[in-house]
Amino acid sequence: MKDGVKKILEKTKQGLKPPTDEEMNEVTGKWLFGKNANRMLQYAPWSFLLLKILWKKGEEPWKTE
């Protein structure tokens, strides 16, 4: 890799502030569970049990047809 390219990359790397795991969990939780996100995250991994409350009657994914 040429020196000019290395310099640009170094400068870029110094300026990067990527999302933290905590931020990712928060936004993904909100996207996946809406207003229930905080509760889901608070009780993870047990929160999968809480999934059930998110579905309306008749649309449960585990219900056999």
Binding site: M1, K2, G4, V5, I8, L9, T12, K13, G15, L16, K17, P18, P19, E23, M24, V27, T28, K30, W31, L32, F33, G34, K35, N36, A37, L51, L54, W55, K56, E59, P61, K63, E65
Partner: protein
């Protein structure tokens, strides 16, 4: 005449609104690579080594960067990603090119029936609902592999290519404007109706979608090697929402979320390549505010149908612009016609730097190879500073 620059330095100069050794040229080569490289669309998506080999066979039509087709990662995920996932949206991955198959195309069907319900309960009820049969056709192994492991394998393959061939990536992460996502989730007709009949809900939903979309794209760019792999620091920020938006609709429904996303990406150290389709000439006065409050050299706008001469007049000295040799010309025209069109674009846009010669949305999969080559040669022939 200036010393010859590397591809990455040449592009960096354009981002910074400076004159490089010549005008950079970056046809957005996506499906044309597997087509000319002799692999199927399914192989393109699931076997990165084959995609890399196909790319190597097409080096004559690669300009100053390469599209790593981040849509692959979005397509194969099971969490919704950037409007391309197979779960919430119907973008089919075909085995073959036309006429036996097709390139991934959107098959419109309303996914969201009730905005309030999604904001209340999230997308989990859509993703894991039995109405979406695709989820249940895929096993747990498949989920773990494509959601959490495949992106690392994919990134590693591209990193090796970039190091070996010194061709920067077009992007590292990819995000859709929320209005664009709503177009996918609701369909163009229903979204248009919503904009007029439920404007408040459309705006609330745009806010709801934005955080996830932005963070996911930045995470994707990090996996692709932002700060280590040239070009991986770029977030490809897509589209202009429903076609034919009036300036009033653009200003009210598109612009606030576009500006918020661009600000966030740049303030977190990423570059933003705004890939905005449609003819946005009537909205250029709004778009010129895109760099307000931001450092120089971090934003580029890739226009599809916008008048490039006018774009240069309004945006020149503010933001780098990219475009827009017509797709129709690349498929049906001659190399001479492509050369002439490219020359005119360079004459209209290159002065003072801040211009990259490019395709419209992307190079059509069935574009003539000699036409794409003519575009690259035009930049070398007419683009010297």
């Amino acid at each position: 005449m200036k010393d010859e620059m590397t591809r990455y330095e040449r592009l960096e100069a354009a981002w910074n609104l400076e004159e490089a050794d010549r005008v950079p040229v970056t046809p957005v080569n996506c499906y044309i690579i597997p087509y000319l490289g002799g692999i199927s669309i399914k192989e393109m998506f699931t076997e990165p080594e084959k995609l890399i080999q196909a790319t190597i066979k097409c080096m004559d039509i690669i300009g100053d960067n390469i599209d790593p087709n981040i849509t692959t990662l979005d397509h194969l995920s099971l969490f919704g990603k950037s409007g391309w996932d197979q779960v919430t949206l119907d973008w089919r991955i075909w085995d073959q090119f036309p006429p036996q198959g097709n390139i991934p195309s959107f098959y419109e069907k309303p996914i969201i029936e009730d905005y309030d319900d999604v904001m209340e309960r999230g997308f989990s009820t859509i993703l894991f609902n039995k109405k979406v049969k695709e989820v249940f056709a895929r096993g747990l192994d498949d989920f773990f592999y494509y959601e959490f492991e495949y992106s690392e394998i994919y990134a590693k393959a591209w990193r090796k290519f970039v190091e070996e061939y010194e061709v920067p990536l077009l992007m590292g992460g990819r995000a859709c404007h929320p209005l664009d996502l709503l177009q996918y989730y609701r369909g163009i007709n229903l979204l248009t109706e919503d904009i007029f009949e439920r404007p408040k809900k459309v705006k609330e939903m745009c806010e709801f979608l934005l955080d996830y979309e932005m963070n996911r794209a930045m995470r994707q760019a990090m996996i692709m090697g932002a700060g280590e792999v040239p070009g991986a620091e770029i977030v490809f920020f897509i589209n202009g929402g429903p076609p034919g938006m009036s300036p009033k609709i653009f200003d009210e429904f598109f612009w606030p979320y576009a500006k918020k996303a661009v600000d966030t990406f740049v303030n977190r150290g990423f570059k933003v390549l705004c890939h905005w389709d449609n003819d946005l000439t009537p909205s250029l006065d709004t778009i010129k505010e895109i760099i307000k409050g931001l450092p120089k050299g971090k934003v580029m706008i890739d226009f599809e149908k916008t008048d490039m001469k006018k774009a240069k007049e309004v945006l020149g000295g503010r933001v780098c612009i990219h475009g827009n040799v017509p797709s129709s010309l690349l498929v049906y025209g001659t190399p001479e016609e492509v050369e002439e069109y490219s020359k005119k674009l360079i004459e209209d846009c290159a002065a003072g730097g801040g211009y990259i010669l490019g395709t419209e949305c992307e190079t059509p999969w069935d574009a003539k190879r000699e036409n794409v080559r003519a575009m690259i040669e035009a930049a070398i022939k007419y683009g010297k500073y």
